[in-house]
């Protein structure tokens, strides 16, 4: 009976299927074209900025998913991003691990950390959650500066990574090349974007949104409201960790700045700029922020950019660039239908 109801609700199942196949086909084309075309058209400087934008976009995506689906704003994304970078770097430099093993170990540590921290904080209200992620992030960013850990973390100077070995047959030193790294960052970002897009439409996404809206009713409907939020929290942190690994692969360097609050707020601003409702918005927001930051930063106006962007995108364009453009297109379409 439920199935009958579902079918009458969504119309022909073929419509849904064709939409999914359209999105998947579009994604595949974008994946290949985006990975290759810019490397022929753009110079190294633009590719570097673009790659930074993609990494920020991935971080923004993790922040936006938690905001949109669970109604929780995380201010500690940088601690995962930078922390993953430190773990990867320490594993290769001091641990003598191969890049692939260092990456796996770092990933498992981050997932375990996110699971423990998440178990403590996802039950709290949104304000407490935000403050607790901020506090946890600040603790980690200060921990790397501890004198006792200086031999491992490099203290305030950061850590230069010895890039030896390969991942999946590719020499990791090659990712210092802007064109090579752009292709990698693009492919990973698009795949993560598609994964989050699917998650948002999955049962987990539906449960998260329902819990966000009325947690008590969900509990009184027999749902465990803790586990879905914990799973989402671990997933978004896994994505932030991937962005952190990529950053180290490209830069060959990790510093305390990568753990700082400014990286977390940049990710938040990028998410607001692009729009938090889907996957495209945060990624686009990351790219816009990266290029705008370069332009404004050259004039020493980065903070001004951040402030103006926050006000503009919260007050004037609350759905971000993607949300605003899609609303405008819908309005335009309905006007044409009427005329």
């Amino acid at each position: 009976m439920t199935g009958d109801l579902q079918r009458t609700a969504t119309g022909a199942p073929g419509g849904q299927l064709s939409r999914i196949s359209l999105v998947l086909s579009g994604g595949a084309i974008a994946l290949v074209a985006g990975a290759l075309v810019p490397t022929y058209l753009a110079g190294d400087f633009v590719l570097r900025l673009g790659s930074e934008g993609l990494l920020l976009g991935m971080l923004a995506l993790s922040v936006a998913f938690m905001m949109n689906q669970a109604g929780l704003v995380a201010l500690g994304a940088a601690s995962i991003y930078g922390g993953a970078g430190y773990l990867f770097a320490i594993g290769m430099s001091d641990g003598g691990l191969t890049p692939a093993v260092a990456l796996c170990v770092g990933f498992l540590v981050i997932v375990a950390y996110a699971a423990v921290l998440g178990a403590l904080i996802v039950r709290t209200n949104p304000l407490a959650f935000m403050m607790l992620t901020l506090a946890a992030g600040e603790m980690i960013s200060h921990a790397v500066l501890l004198e006792g850990l200086r031999d491992y973390t490099g203290g305030a100077d950061g850590l230069v990574v010895r890039m030896n070995g390969s991942i999946l047959g590719i020499d990791v030193a090659e990712f210092a090349d802007p064109a090579r790294f752009w292709s990698l960052a693009w492919i990973v970002t698009v795949l993560v974007g598609l994964a989050f897009w699917s998650l948002g439409r999955s049962r987990l996404g539906a449960i998260l949104r329902a819990v966000r809206e009325n947690e008590e009713r969900m509990r009184f409907s027999g749902f465990n409201t803790f586990v879905p939020r914990l799973v989402a929290y671990v997933l978004v942190n896994a994505v932030a960790a991937i962005a952190g690994f990529l950053h180290v692969l490209n830069a060959g360097f990790v510093s305390p700045e990568s753990l700082g609050l400014s990286v977390s707020t940049n990710a938040l601003v990028a998410a607001l700029m692009g729009g938090i409702a889907g996957s495209l918005g945060p990624i686009l927001g990351g790219l816009i922020f990266s290029f705008a930051q370069d332009e404004f930063g050259a004039r020493g106006l980065t903070q001004l950019l951040t402030g103006v962007a926050i006000v503009l995108f919260i007050v004037v364009f609350p759905r971000g660039v993607v949300g605003g453009v899609s609303s405008a297109l819908r309005r335009f379409g309905s006007r044409r239908e009427m005329s």
Binding site: T2, L5, A210, E213, N214, F220, S221, G222
Partner: protein, 232 residues
Amino acid sequence: MLKIEKLSVSYGSLRALTGVDLEVGGDGVFHGVIGPNGAGKSTLLDAICGRRRPTSGIVRYRDEDITRRSVTWRRRHGMARSFQRTSIFQDLTIREQLELVAQHLGDDRLDDVVEVMDLGAYLNQRAGRIAYGVQRRVDVALALIGRPRLLLMDEPGAGLSAAETLRLFQHVRDLVRERGIAAIVVEHDVDAVFACCSTVTVLDLGRHLATGTPEAIRADHRVIAAYLGTAA
């Protein structure tokens, strides 16, 4: 079905319920709970469904002590409730929210609930955009999914006209009889309670005052003095 023994609930220094005993049978019992404001009616439902932990006393459900069981456990074991203030998912369509809960509880007879609560015309509308009376029916429909054995309803007629309340009560009474389940309803509208409930309990100042058939309650001099007055 349900047996409550010496149940007390306190909010800090305020005692909302004091040593309440109550027994509700199964198979088509529609049990009304009435009483003046502050009598502890909603607190009683909260304690039964696990929303509020009792200060003392025992809640037995199908011969098992469930006093410390979670809300989720109770729901999965057939105890469902609706709320005094409509508690639905305003941003989801009626269909989306009913299906979400139905899939989770493994209820493949959702059409029955839609039909009983007369929601067929509203399935594709967002809950926040439909009339309040329909929202109340959605609230009850969410509780009916999963074929509960015990249905708890807190002021289902809140915000509805007397006629709408009576119609809703008649719907629920028929459902309770058809499915052989039990329902406890807390309600201010005593006319609807007397018209539809098979048993009525009266609370006053957190204490159990009387339990009996509607006719017996109407004639009970303690109930008349404390709540119904001469109008009854």
